[in-house]
């Protein structure tokens, strides 16, 4: 298949390879480092972080994200896509116990390298797609496993234990945000309590979680997104089967939004 001449994908200039690699899920992107010496460090300079669903344990995922972010160093990302959910075998990874421990592992802003907090504010972030899915519903049905422990002083519920920033705050510079979550998970709802301002946010996609806590999530974004132009609500998890569907609200005027 190789032509033998210079017309090979492997011979493209670095900046183009960065763009091509940035389309891959981050784990596959990292694995291209073994292909050749020239490719060893290419993955570290791409402008996207894409964590996709893998049948990994929480520990494995934690370890992966830690390595990824540590070795990328300060490389900014324009795109951050987190799809966390399909974790397996939680009990053997030592992550059982309180739900907070588990969420610390998938809560990117709270994953730390041995040396320093890794993702803090990401001012260069333009687009983020964060999906907090859940597939262990059947395994864990212990009341409030999904988040809020009803203790106002709980550090797990109030962001990380050392007061570092939370996920939504980290994403607050984005122009495009797609935040979907199993409505029973508490991460976004909790972060909404902190009045983060999304000063550049123009396009926003939310799903059912924003309707919980008396529309707390929706209210938060309507109140703190001064330049929001397009809001799409994807309502799929509705308790009422008659309200399924995707609602696009089109372009809204600011006046309408502030109501």
């Amino acid at each position: 298949m190789a032509t033998g001449s210079g017309d090979r994908i492997s011979a493209l200039p670095d900046d183009i390879l960065h763009l091509l690699l940035s389309r891959l899920p981050s784990d596959e992107e990292v694995r291209t480092c073994v292909l050749a010496r020239r490719w060893r460090h290419l993955w570290k300079s791409t402008r996207a972080i894409r964590i996709t669903n893998r049948p990994w344990t929480a520990e494995k995922l934690h370890n992966f994200v830690n390595h990824l972010l540590l070795l990328r160093g300060g490389t900014p990302a324009d795109v951050c896509s987190l799809k966390c959910g399909h974790l397996r075998d939680l009990s053997s990874s030592g992550i059982e116990g309180s739900g907070h421990d588990f969420f610390q592992n998938i809560h990117l802003s709270r994953i730390y390298s041995p040396t320093a907090p890794i993702i803090e504010k990401m001012p260069l972030l333009v687009e983020a797609d964060v999906r907090l899915e859940d597939n262990f519903t059947d395994q864990y049905r212990n009341g409030d496993y999904y988040g809020d422990c009803k203790d106002d002083k709980c550090l797990g519920c109030l962001g990380s234990s050392d007061g570092s920033s939370m996920l939504l705050e980290d994403l607050s510079g984005a122009k495009y945000l797609e935040l979907t979550s199993d409505p029973r998970l508490y991460i976004f709802t909790r972060d909404c309590k902190f009045s983060t301002v999304f000063s550049s946010l123009k396009t926003l996609v939310l799903n059912d979680w924003c309707m919980g806590a008396e529309f707390g999530g929706l209210e938060c974004f309507l109140r703190y997104s001064p330049v929001l132009k397009k809001l799409t609500l994807q309502l799929e998890y509705s308790e009422n089967p008659g309200v399924k569907g995707i609602f696009g609200c089109g372009i809204w005027g600011k006046g309408q939004l502030s109501k």
Binding site: M1, I16, V34
Partner: protein, 174 residues
């Protein structure tokens, strides 16, 4: 023959521009299609490329330019519609079918197309070829990726180095 009320905003017949490939072939194409290239857009807005002039593209040969323009002509109407929010599902499906077919090509052609898409800064085409390459890599072992992307066969030394690296990067493997 008036084009549908869209496109470059000119009245009457669509404005044409001429592009000249590195091997001196001239291509006459609607300005709206050529303007999908960010690189060409300003020149065209300034009135360039019309009449007998033509815009020289010293980095793009005629075979590649012809392929690039095929893409631009197909995508120009949707692009003129501002990303075609009103496009029907049928229109979108047709563009998707076209795109899939379009990148079903030899690797040397794909290589030229990638270079041209970047030189001419055609955003949609850049995305399309990037997706194609990502699909060529996804789910493959390092040796399979090497073969797919046209790396020469590894020397025993390189093979040993690859194995060592796979161990070192165990954290990125399942």
């Amino acid at each position: 023959m008036a084009a549908p009320e869209s496109g470059d905003g000119n009245n009457g017949a669509a404005r044409m521009v001429t592009l000249i490939s590195s091997d001196n072939t001239r291509f006459e194409v609607e300005a709206a299609a050529a303007s999908l290239s960010q690189t060409l857009q300003l020149t065209i807005l300034d009135g360039g490329g019309g009449g007998g002039d033509g815009i020289p593209l010293p980095n793009v040969d005629s075979a590649t330019l012809s392929k690039v323009l095929e893409y631009c002509i197909k995508h120009a109407p949707a692009a003129a519609n501002g990303g075609a929010p009103n496009a029907t599902a049928v229109d979108r499906a047709e563009l998707e079918r076209f795109d899939n077919e379009f990148v079903n090509i030899d690797q040397s052609v794909l290589y030229s197309l990638i270079m041209a898409a970047h030189n001419l800064e055609i955003e949609g085409l850049q995305s399309l070829v990037a997706k194609k390459v990502a699909d060529m890599i996804k789910g493959k072992s390092p040796m399979e990726i090497r073969r797919t992307l046209g790396f020469p066969d590894p020397t025993p030394e390189e093979q040993a180095e690859m194995n060592a690296h796979m161990l070192e990067y165990g954290w990125a493997y399942e």
